[in-house]
């Protein structure tokens, strides 16, 4: 659907079926309770069967609230359906809970089961230390072999159990390089073709960034990630890779040279998708906590509409950030269970971001002459923040349906987020976007409305402003390299949310081919991934409709029902 500056208000009017300017809900307390929700009704009926079978009470909201009188009776207000932005799919918020949507789960899995390693150095060891020849044919043999070992296949020892391929169908290995001649000489089944996956302009920039090096991308089976956590990915890839090298190049599995080779192959040029989290999170590498925010722009693959419109790609990034930082990290890893589940979804439903963005993009073009043209001055940051904040406040004041839809004052985060986008689009600088968001939350909207977010929410935004302008390791870092592991970012998701969004919005505004790593950008252009990173919201919508087929399912290993 075509989005204009009022699309989100029209959608609210359609879904609530009342005028968006009404301040009174005539049916309040009479909306039908839990039974107005198809999903909650389904949960209750399903849980009743579980409770009956196992003899232990289970999920039972009406009993808890209405009979025991100890909880809140759900559904006294209208539980509005929402439209997933960029799609025509309507769903309930229930369908966007990270634990209810297998597409969302697969998105997370596909990011963190990825192992990227440069195989230039092991090739150099094979040539210089062992005296072997490395040719397109030998590389193709290696790639066939590693596609066997990566899913638990044995190649050097006989007395080994192997894994059933069924749950590991998403385990495979591909390769890419910026050298067209080398890429063309390899078996195309294994190659991520930069020329095919990107526009000519971006392909040229990416090939320059990747250079002549040969990069291997291993997709460790989702089944393994879910059983053993992200820290296994490096080890898993190392084992599968070393076995494949040993087998395909007939190496000796014990001589001194193998230690040189093993280091070169497994560790020397390996890229993690995330560093380990701080101790209390008690997880290893490849956790969202250690994901540098610059990777968000690199992972999403949505078609750009620049130089005219930075919104489509920014909106895709926003959906991913909302899921990773708000729903997964804050909502589940920090809190868990009911956690923060509606709030993250508000960022990618009802075309709200697109509608607000449409106004701001016009305002930026009018004021600064185009996207990414504004100078990096205080005045720019302030003016962008003021316009984004005031325009949003005007909507909340005019349409009482909107603050109800942003129940719990998610509006505070929404206003800061759009301020971030505005400054990032105007300047093309992530720092401008992040500063605008912190400035908005700490000062502009706080003094305008005398409220911000949930308890202590703004406490990170005051120190964040000076800290994020530092590039020292223990203070800030360049914006693209920051993540939840930076201390002032970790307590609250919204702080992280703004930073990552400013990176996506600014790099899209600049029409960059990548933000932090051309390697990561190409690695996620792989069309064989179960989750479609070309259209994050479309995939999430499939999950909401229960039409998405996730990987790693154990159906072949369980009793037939």
């Amino acid at each position: 659907m075509a989005v204009d500056k009022k699309t989100h208000i029209k959608l609210l009017e359609e879904t609530f079926k009342v005028s968006p300017t009404d301040i009174v809900d005539k049916k309040l307390y009479q909306h039908g309770g839990t039974r107005q929700s198809k999903r909650k009704t389904e949960y209750i009926e399903y849980a009743n069967r579980i409770a009956k079978e196992r003899g232990i009470p289970a999920y039972d909201p009406d009993h808890i609230a209405l009979e025991l009188e100890v909880g809140v009776p759900l559904g006294q207000r209208y539980l509005e359906p929402v439209k997933i932005s960029g799609t025509d799919v309507m769903c309930e918020y229930e369908d966007l809970h990270i634990m209810n949507n297998v597409a969302i789960e697969q998105m997370v899995d596909d990011i963190f089961r990825t192992a990227i390693v440069c195989i230039d150095l092991p090739h150099k060891v094979l040539v210089d230390r062992y005296g072997f020849e490395v040719t397109p044919e030998s590389i193709n043999t290696y790639l066939e072999t590693i596609n066997h070992t990566m899913v638990g296949g044995a190649v050097t020892q006989e007395h080994m159990c192997e894994m059933h391929p069924g749950p590991c169908a998403d385990g495979y290995v591909k390769i890419f390089t910026g050298n067209d001649e080398v890429a063309g000489s390899l078996d195309s089944r294994f190659v991520i073709d930069i020329n095919k996956e990107f526009t000519p302009e971006k392909a040229a920039k990416l090939k320059e960034g990747v250079g002549d090096s040969l990069w291997q991308v291993s997709r460790v089976p989702t089944h393994a990630l879910r059983t053993m956590d992200g820290a296994i990915i490096h080890r898993w890839n190392a084992m599968g890779q070393t076995m494949a090298f040993i087998a395909s190049y007939h190496l000796c599995a014990g001589e001194a040279a193998i230690s040189d080779f093993a280091y070169a192959a497994k560790h020397a040029q390996y890229i993690w998708m995330g560093t380990p989290p701080f101790v209390s999170k008690a997880r290893g590498h490849n956790s969202v906590v250690g994901l540098p925010v610059g990777y968000i722009f690199d992972i999403i693959q949505h078609e750009s509409a620049m130089p005219d419109d930075p919104i489509p790609v920014s909106a895709e990034g926003l959906a991913m950030e909302s899921i990773l930082y708000f729903a997964l990290y804050y909502g589940q890893m920090m809190i868990g269970t009911v956690g923060v589940t509606v709030a993250p979804a508000t960022f990618y439903v009802n075309e709200l971001y697109e509608s607000r963005g449409a106004h701001l993009v016009d305002w930026i073009k009018d004021k600064y002459g185009g996207i990414a043209q504004a100078p990096m001055y205080w005045d720019t940051i302030h003016d962008c923040t003021d316009e984004a904040t005031m325009a949003a406040i005007e909507e909340y004041d005019t349409y009482p349906l909107l603050p109800e839809h942003h129940w719990g004052l998610i509006q505070a985060v929404q206003i800061s987020l759009i301020s971030s986008a505005c400054a990032a689009w105007a300047t093309g600088k992530p720092m401008a976007g992040a500063l605008a968001a912190h400035y908005c939350k700490s000062f502009v909207q706080k003094e305008a409305l005398m409220r911000t977010g949930w308890g202590g929410q703004e406490s990170t935004h005051h120190p964040a402003m000076p800290a994020m302008t530092s590039v020292l390791l223990d203070e800030g870092l360049p914006v693209e390299l920051t993540g939840i592991n930076v201390p002032f970012r970790s307590p609250f998701a919204d702080s992280q949310h703004y930073t990552s969004h400013s990176v996506v919005a600014a790099h899209e505004a600049r029409m960059d081919a990548w933000a932090l790593s051309p390697i990561v950008k190409v690695a996620f252009a792989d069309p064989h991934l179960p989750f479609n990173f070309r259209n994050v919201r479309e995939s999430v919508a499939k999950g909401a409709l229960r039409e998405f087929e996730p990987a790693g399912e154990r159906d072949v290993l369980r009793p037939t029902k």
Partner: protein
């Protein structure tokens, strides 16, 4: 306590209302009378007429380590007696509750002693020694700080402040702690702030007329005093924001600004 006025930029109706609440000498209008016992019932921490619980002996009976701060700060009555710390929490509707959370927080800072508070998006917690709390809660509920339709006492299930109003103009409360009495035009609490049923209804009076709520408001609103027109406030926050970055990153750059 020493008299003081926390300064605030601007000279529009909202800025002037804010200044009023940040003046320690300002006396808000008393709008209703609620008995001490009813306040205790609404708080729900103990039954009316029962003794306060103590967490330590009276200060007079305690041997404390020498501390010059204790010589400077006069303890509150609740602290002297060793009362436990208890709370009252208000939810303030975004539809013209007199004091939104940060305004309420700042007002507490301007006129209360011996308290802890936290401003959330829609609610503000206030914790004090119990007898101090009883006295303060009475002040907070009896005066124009409290509007029967747009302010509510809620310790749990606090949401509702951003929702549309019910047909009687009351802020949504998923625990239905209060009802509108159509005969008297008053709002009556049927549950404590903790959502446990009361033995009898407690009236907190009539809601203020909409026009009066708009006159009292301490938030900028597009239809009244737009935040876009708060020039002096915007100028000040720009300066504070800029200096916060410079002061935190390179204090030397603040010189002369």
């Amino acid at each position: 306590m020493r008299e003081f006025q926390i300064p605030y930029p601007g000279d529009d109706p909202v800025a002037n209302n804010r200044k009023k609440w940040m003046n320690s000498e300002f006396t808000p209008r008393k709008l209703r009378e609620i008995s001490d016992d009813d306040i205790v019932s609404l708080l729900g921490h103990r039954k009316p007429g029962t003794a306060y619980s103590s967490v330590h002996p009276p200060l007079d009976e305690m041997k404390e380590a020498a501390d010059p701060i204790k010589e400077l700060v006069v303890p509150t009555d609740g602290a002297k007696a060793g009362d436990r710390i208890r709370y009252i929490q208000f939810a303030d509707s975004m539809h013209f509750a007199p004091l939104p959370p940060w305004m309420r927080f700042r007002m507490y800072g301007a006129r209360l002693r011996g308290f802890d508070s936290l401003a959330y998006s829609g609610r503000t917690l206030l914790e004090m020694r119990e007898r101090d709390l009883d006295e303060t809660a009475k002040f907070l509920v009896e005066t124009e700080i409290f509007d029967a339709s747009r302010v509510a006492m809620r310790s749990v299930t606090v949401h509702g402040f951003s929702l549309r109003l019910d047909e009687d103009g009351l802020m949504f409360d998923a625990r239905r702690r209060y009802v509108f009495n159509k005969e008297t035009g008053e709002v009556e609490y049927v549950k404590t702030q903790r959502a446990t049923p009361l033995d009898r209804r407690i009236s907190v009076g009539k809601p203020l007329p909409e026009d009066e709520l708009k006159t009292l408001t301490t938030r900028y609103h597009t239809a009244l005093t737009s935040p876009r027109d708060a020039d002096e406030l915007i100028k000040v926050v720009k300066r504070v924001g800029e200096l916060r970055v410079l002061g935190g990153l390179r204090p030397d750059l603040v010189d002369g600004r």
